[in-house]
Amino acid sequence: MSILIDKSTRLLVQGITGRDGRFHTEKMKEYGTNIVGGTSPGKGGTDVLGIPVFDTMYDAVNQTDADTSIIFVPAKFAADAIMEAADAGIKLIICISEGIPTLDVIKAHRFAQERGAMLIGPNCPGLVSPGKSLAGILPAQIFKEGNIGVISRSGTLTYEVVYHLTANGMGQSSAIGMGGDPVTGLYFRELLEMLQNDPATEGIVMIGEIGGNAEEQAAAYIKNHVTKPVVGFIAGQFAPPGKQMGHAGAIISGSSGTAADKIAAMEAAGIKVAKEPSDIPSLLKNMMK
């Protein structure tokens, strides 16, 4: 098994005719993701790589029975795209777009929640259940089917870690990039719960970074609810306070959000925290023995 997406996932691509949308649609299709359609207002009735394009998400969902969507539209229109997807009945929305105003994300997230939809992102690389389905911009070839769940606030750092895992013969059940913004959808706690309940997952890697206190909350949750071994990594141990480190959410505010606090909370909860990304496979192997 896996979490959130698998072979039965029916995916729509919002913004399928744009440069990024088209490029990654091709990559996802190559991987074997079941892409049933896309949207681009005014281009309904055409197709991209043989995939039907619709004007609205309402048409697309009606005609394809899609349950999941991925968003590649520019930041200005992305929050609206989230709301359209949720209103049309999509149950899992993955928003890749970066740079959406936070107040728009807050509204779109609340709206999606009220419609019973889950959101991943924005400003995220998406997710993959290796061998089954890929909904995102992650490089498919580094992943391998297996039993490790990976959840992360980062993109390339996740790839780095996954690369080491795969090189050490440790495949992945699902890998999820949650996004680097201050406000995003599904986060550590919810995803940890899903991975704990997923029979195919036997070990978990969580990759955090400075800013906020989600890692501390995740540590508390792990201590009480997660029986599977967890290895962690926190980026930004030497980041200067008050500076935004690339991700809008990666900022130490006052005395909160530091890497030291997160690492201490995680270690206190029995999570092994790696000093370098390349240490993660061996730490996890030892815990899974």
Binding site: K27, A75, K76, G99, I100, P101, T102, L103, D104, I106, K107, R110, F111, I137, L138, P139, Q141, I142, S152, R153, S154, G155, T156, L157, T158, Y159, E160, Y163, G180, P182, V183, I207, E209, I210, G212, N213, A214, F233, A235, G236, Q237, F238, A239, P240, K243, Q244, M245, G246, H247, A248, G249, A250, G254, S255, S256, A259, K275, E276, P277, S278
Partner: protein, 376 residues
């Protein structure tokens, strides 16, 4: 993006939030004119800098004559507060305070909403209050589709006040502050302290606002208030090129694709005994033009001794990245040692291409960082 107290107060005033009269000065002598214009016996001279701790640093002083105002202005203008030089002051009328409160709206990651934070312990560092006496802090999550109608504003007001005179003043302050927050795409609006004067009036004696950088494209009036430091100017220029750059004081320049990996690279440099000169995320791809622009940014750093390029080849394969790097460095003129660490798809092919070039090539992040530290 941050703005000064006086700018935040001007916005407050536009939104009907009561403030003291204030006059901005950049020359010490003008403090006398300001003193006389205000026509009050007591005024406060306040440093305008984009950092906290002004009071402790001696940047806020009471004056009882025009001479005294000028003498404080002399001392405060040009003063350094946490690396920020004071170039502006305000002269503002002093008020007699009978009680102080803390009020703010801020974006809360956990509830994924705007929250209202209030405390009767005003005028103090709110983080300190939260750490020592968390029960004195009241938090309320605001529904973005409901906002703060009168009934909610009254509910919040009665948490802090009991006299109806204060409730009637506080309700519009709360509603207007929230309206200001939403209309300007703020990430923080803070009044600390909101005071009750001896005339039983509620007034915002200090004001702090920061704004969501992602929303500045639709907030031209706010963007006009941006007063970047030299470093912030460099960082803003880098952002226009699609980079995330943060200036640091070390000697090892870094160029990395992805923010998380860039932070991890900085961490490892420190771990191995070096000091990063910067944080630089050049974004997902790494075409030659991007590398050229990123290198010219790094080469401006006065302390730069070595450059470490750490690229994960995902969608763009390592062999393509290697070709791009070779091409870029045909145009870059520098003798500074450059260490390249490529990992990901086709990494062996990529490293082979770089063999015999000007680059020192490393296989693991540890090796690359050690090489960089040793090459300084």
């Amino acid at each position: 993006m941050k703005i000064h107290e006086y700018q935040a107060k001007e916005l407050f005033s536009t939104y009907g939030i009561p403030i003291q009269r204030q006059i901005l000065c950049t020359v010490a002598e003008d403090a006398a004119i300001a003193y006389n214009m205000l026509g009050k016996e007591e005024v406060v001279v306040k440093a305008q800098v984009l950092t906290g701790g002004r009071g402790k640093a001696g940047g806020i002083k009471l004056a009882k004559s025009d001479d005294e105002a000028v003498s404080h202005a002399y001392n405060i203008l040009g003063m350094k507060i946490k690396d920020y030089t004071v170039n502006k002051i305000i002269i503002t009328e002093a008020v007699n305070i009978t009680a102080e409160f803390y009020i703010s709206f801020v974006i809360d990651r956990n509830s994924k909403s705007v929250i209202l934070i209030m405390s009767a312990e005003g005028g103090m560092d709110i983080e300190e209050v939260a750490a020592k006496t968390p029960e004195k802090i009241h938090r309320f999550s605001i529904d973005p589709f409901i906002g703060i109608p009168d009934y909610l504003a009254r509910k919040f007001a009665f948490v802090l006040f009991d006299k109806i005179e204060y409730i009637n003043q506080f309700v519009p302050i709360l509603q207007n502050l929230y309206r200001l927050f939403i209309n300007t795409d703020a990430s923080l609006t803070e009044i600390n302290p909101l005071v009750i004067t001896d005339r039983e009036k509620l007034i915002a004696v200090d004001a702090k606002m920061t704004f969501d950088d992602n929303a500045l494209y639709r907030q031209p009036d706010i963007l006009d208030l941006f007063e970047p430091t030299t470093e912030e100017r460099i960082e803003a220029d880098a952002k226009d090129k699609g980079f995330s750059y943060v200036h640091l004081d070390g000697e090892i320049g870094c160029m990395v694709n992805g923010a998380g990996l860039a932070m991890a690279t900085m961490d490892m440099i420190k771990l191995y005994g070096g000091n990063p000169a910067n944080f630089l995320d050049i974004g997902g791809s790494s075409n030659p033009q991007k590398v050229i622009e990123a290198m010219s940014l790094l080469l401006k750093h006065p302390n730069l001794k070595v450059v470490l390029i750490n690229i994960f080849g995902g969608i763009t394969r390592c062999d393509d990245v290697a070709v791009g790097l070779l091409k870029a460095f045909e145009e870059i003129k520098t003798d500074i040692p450059v260490i390249v660490r490529l990992t990901g798809t086709n990494e062996e092919e990529g490293r082979a291409l770089l063999k015999g070039s000007r680059f020192k090539v490393a296989e693991t992040m540890g090796d690359a960082v050690r090489l960089a530290v040793d090459s300084q």
